[in-house]
């Protein structure tokens, strides 16, 4: 069968590729042949500013993945209403599937900073182009996502993978619906309809060539050319992980007791209760045969 055309979207202007070294300033230093830890020289005052934007980026990531949780399992929450698929029962957002994705990405994916930082640099370019805004309480010079990311790159702290993934979803959101750069919710992805969210993942899995080119040019050798596979892996991984998280117990988990404190949302939705050490479901043996017969 023929390949369907990817959804139409404005191509990234060629000048962003030419501008990439200039747009990064000091953060671009030290990238050549980056196999070791990439770190920029600390700049006075930068850490204080980073302390201002970091919580905003954390909230943006959480919002994006709550938007993803509603996408996976719509419920009676604001994100599900915003995407146009409200349901009368608790769904993925209430199950905290988005929160699980953030925690998983940041704490347990051994994602190398040698990859996270160049990807973030590429996303600076892409978010600048998309004009993605940030809350107005930040200083004016940090009022846009590209400025916040640029600042983050000037620090020496680890860049959380949830930031990278959430910004990527945000950039793609503005490609399928440019008006998503501004509006309710922190994340452009959460501002989309259900249908437009599917188009974001179509771009991610179909590997939009402009985006791949932009990300790839920032990666150090020998990783050039691996972005397309990485995006496919990320896209499918996010969808699988968030679906899994909609039905698990993590939101009501008491680690000390190794037990749950209440019935998980997914259990209440399905009626499942998986706590028993045995169940009454034995129906005997097919045609009464309890062992193999003969040794053909």
């Amino acid at each position: 069968m023929t390949e369907p055309l990817p959804p139409s979207s404005p191509p990234l202007p060629r000048r962003v590729f030419l501008a990439r070294t200039g747009v990064l300033g000091a953060a671009g230093a030290g990238l050549a042949g980056a196999r070791g830890r990439v770190a920029a020289a600390p700049v006075p005052g930068v850490e204080e500013l980073i302390a201002l934007v970091r919580p905003v980026l954390t909230r943006l990531a959480l919002d994006a993945f709550r938007g993803l949780a509603a996408f996976a399992l719509p419920g009676d929450d604001a994100h599900s209403r915003a995407q146009g698929t409200p349901r009368g029962r608790a769904g993925g957002v209430a199950a905290e599937a988005g929160d699980l994705v953030v925690a998983s990405l940041d704490r347990f994916v051994p994602f190398p900073q040698e990859v996270a930082r160049p990807l973030t640099m590429a996303l600076v370019t892409a978010t600048a182009e998309a004009g993605i805004g940030l809350p107005r309480h930040l200083p004016p010079e940090l009022g846009r996502l590209d400025a916040a990311l640029r600042l983050l790159l000037r620090g020496d702290e680890k860049i959380p993978l949830s930031f990278v993934a959430a910004v990527l979803l945000g950039v793609l959101a503005t490609r399928v619906h440019p008006a998503a750069a501004d509006g309710p919710f922190l994340s452009p992805f959460s501002r989309l309809s259900y249908r437009d969210k599917t188009r974001v993942f179509e771009l991610l899995e179909h590997t939009d060539s402009d985006l791949v080119a932009l990300l790839d040019t920032h990666l150090p050798q020998p990783l050039r050319g691996s972005v397309s596979g990485l995006l496919k892996y990320l896209g499918s991984g996010l969808l699988s992980l968030v679906s899994f998280g909609c039905f698990t117990e993590h939101a009501v988990w008491d680690a000390g007791r190794r037990d749950i404190t209440a019935l998980p949302v997914g259990w209440r939705l399905t009626g499942y209760d998986g706590r028993a050490d045995g169940l009454d479901d034995l129906k005997g043996y097919y045609r009464g045969r309890k062992e193999a017969v003969g040794h053909a």
């Binding site: 349901r87 347990f108 899994f244 939705l269 499942y272 045995g278 479901d281």
Partner: protein, 588 residues
């Protein structure tokens, strides 16, 4: 100087360790992951606690759960479902223990001889492996699976396919049957109650139908470890290896060291001489020498260790020829309860030699939801990734997501689903492989990259998968499914085989007919990576264990001058009370 060092305590390594410890050799068994010595204190039935791929107690990562999982590059939509820890991937397996089809071995001359991967057969006939099959089947032990609700429904569908029931152990034609599972049959109250007062050993024995094969078997409560229902190697071969002096005259208990990631195989004058491993907790390196080194770290890690150790790869086949059964799921939606989340994970199957196999599989809800998203065809009804296959199933292939997922799962919906896993007889293809990744190295050296070209399979592989998906659809319709959904799974290397394959042709294999490296003396391989091919579709563990038993016998006779035992001896069953008593003495 040890006699033997075995690298990896998964499905295959402990078999070699037990067989050689039984015969008095000094065996060191190294495992990169956690020990899991006391499941009741470490495990639960909860899906996130158990199966979260990055944080669960079943994951591919270090013993310390506070530390990150291990990164493996997969340059495609994919997820490598291998586990670290004692028992390896058998910890979450369904214990299905069918034999391989005779047609995948050399010397096959039946009417179906040309129907298999004829260029990559095993380098010996099926009859050669039968005594080893029998040995393993008796040791584990392997038993005919009991039925629950989902098996009854599955068999209803089978009865409409016009194929016979298989009652023997060797598959000779298209057929269906209860699984031969490495699971003890239910006894006493097991399978008949959920009352915790009755679900205690010995009032209950064997499988309690708890529905938690994916979360590891620790049933019945208070049973000795070697009498837990599921015979994963942590419950069978490992206990035997650690207690060999208690039940085998002249036996010597093997030593098990966990949290020990082997980073290098050492050689001198073309022969393996030992290994270096890194202790996760301390970061310290240790080295031990041995007369024989046996690799059993899995299809991904063995090639990685090979490359990172600088071992020779004269024909370029180390890591190549990975087979994965080109899995797919076909899911029936019923109007009534079919018991998806209850009972053993899989207790019924169909076999189609030359094509592959089907097996009924059951899951708790989170894993069920996960499975419904593992598609290479995009989101069902939204986009297709250039696939979106149509056929006798309903609608296009793709992920079940969003409102449709909610409708499908709510109000007991998860238990109205019957899953059929398609196990394709897939060809060995050199492009499907494990190679060093360009991503940054971790503490154990360069990481592996697992390349599976989902859409560039051989014509035979693709045709087999389509044949099986259609058979699965017919089965589900015959069983009364209201709707049939096909996932079109992306690569989930869950069954993985043949990345260090044995074979007749030195040009396309790494191991000789004894599963010994052609390039390095005294280096053997004893896990799924040693398999010559994908077995024609049957689940790989039993064949790996039979082959590992044969490899252990070859090591014992050829390197240590001992006598073979499989054709003349009688195996001790792993549930033996002498093993139980010694485990109690050891606090295990």
């Amino acid at each position: 100087m040890r006699d033997v060092i075995v690298v990896g305590a998964g499905g295959g390594g402990p078999v070699v360790a037990k067989e050689l410890a039984e015969r008095g050799l000094d065996v060191l068994l190294l495992e990169a992951g956690p020990r899991h010595a006391h499941p009741r204190e470490e495990w639960t039935h909860y899906e996130n606690d158990a199966n979260h791929p990055l944080t669960g107690f079943f994951r591919f990562g270090p013993a310390d759960r506070a530390k990150s999982a291990w990164f493996r590059e997969t340059p495609q939509s994919s997820f490598v479902m291998q586990l670290s820890g004692v028992g390896g991937t058998t910890q979450h397996y369904f214990a299905n223990s069918p034999r391989a089809y005779p047609g995948v071995f050399s010397g096959c001359s039946g009417p179906d001889a040309g129907a298999y991967d004829i260029r990559h057969r095993f380098p010996f006939p099926y009859a050669e492996l039968v005594p080893y099959y029998e040995w393993v089947e008796a040791t584990l032990p392997v038993r005919t699976a009991a039925m629950g609700t989902k098996e009854e429904v599955y068999f209803q569908g089978c009865e409409t396919l016009g194929i016979p029931v298989q009652t023997a152990l060797t598959t000779t034609g298209d057929s269906y049957r209860p699984q031969q599972n490495a699971i003890l049959q239910p006894g006493g109250h097991a399978g008949r109650t959920s009352d915790p007062r009755l679900l205690v050993f010995p009032r209950s024995t064997g499988c309690t139908f708890c529905g938690h094969c994916s979360q590891g078997c620790m049933q019945p409560v208070r049973a000795p470890r070697n009498q837990f229902a599921k015979r994963s190697t942590d419950n069978s071969y490992v206990p035997m290896a650690l207690t060999a002096d208690a039940w085998s005259p002249g036996g010597r208990a093997a030593e098990l060291i966990t949290d020990a990631f082997v980073t290098r195989v050492h050689t001198e004058a073309g022969a393996a001489t030992g290994v270096t491993w890194r202790t996760g907790a301390t970061g310290e390196s240790h080295r031990e020498d041995a007369r024989v080194v046996v690799l059993a770290g899995g299809c991904t890690e063995n090639p990685r260790l090979w490359h990172n150790s600088g071992l020779p790869d004269p024909n370029g086949w180390v890591g190549r020829g990975l087979t994965d059964h080109h899995l797919d799921f076909v899911v029936g939606v019923f109007d009534h309860d079919v018991g998806n989340s209850r009972g053993a994970g899989s207790a019924a199957r169909c076999d189609f030699p030359g094509r592959g196999a089907l097996e009924q599989t059951g899951f708790p809800p989170a894993l069920q939801a996960l499975i419904l998203t593992t598609s290479d065809s995009g989101i069902r009804g939204a986009y297709t990734n250039g696939r979106g296959l149509y056929g006798p199933w309903d609608g296009p292939t793709g992920r079940v997501f969003g409102p449709r997922l909610a409708e499908l799962m709510q109000d007991g919906g998860h238990d109205r689903l019957l899953n059929i896993l398609v196990l394709t007889d897939d060809d060995v293809q050199p492009g499907n492989r494990v190679l060093p990744s360009a991503f940054p190295a971790d503490a154990h050296g360069p990481v592996p990259k697992v390349e599976v070209h989902q859409r560039r399979r051989s014509a035979r592989t693709l045709a087999n998968r389509e044949f099986l998906a259609r058979k699965a659809t017919a089965l589900l319709r015959g069983a009364g499914a209201r709707a049939v959904l096909r996932v079109d799974m992306f690569p989930v290397p869950l069954h993985v085989q043949s990345s260090l394959r044995t074979g007749l042709d030195p040009g396309t294999s790494v191991l000789d007919a004894d599963c010994r490296s052609r390039a390095v003396d005294r280096l053997y391989v004893a896990d799924n990576s040693a398999l010559a091919n994908s077995l024609g579709g049957p689940n790989p563990t039993l064949t790996t264990q039979a082959l590992a038993t044969r490899t252990a016998e070859r090591v014992f006779t050829r390197v240590f001058g001992g006598d073979p035992w499989v054709r003349t001896g009688a195996p001790v069953v792993s549930t033996d009370v002498r093993v139980s008593r010694r485990l109690a003495d050891l606090g295990l």
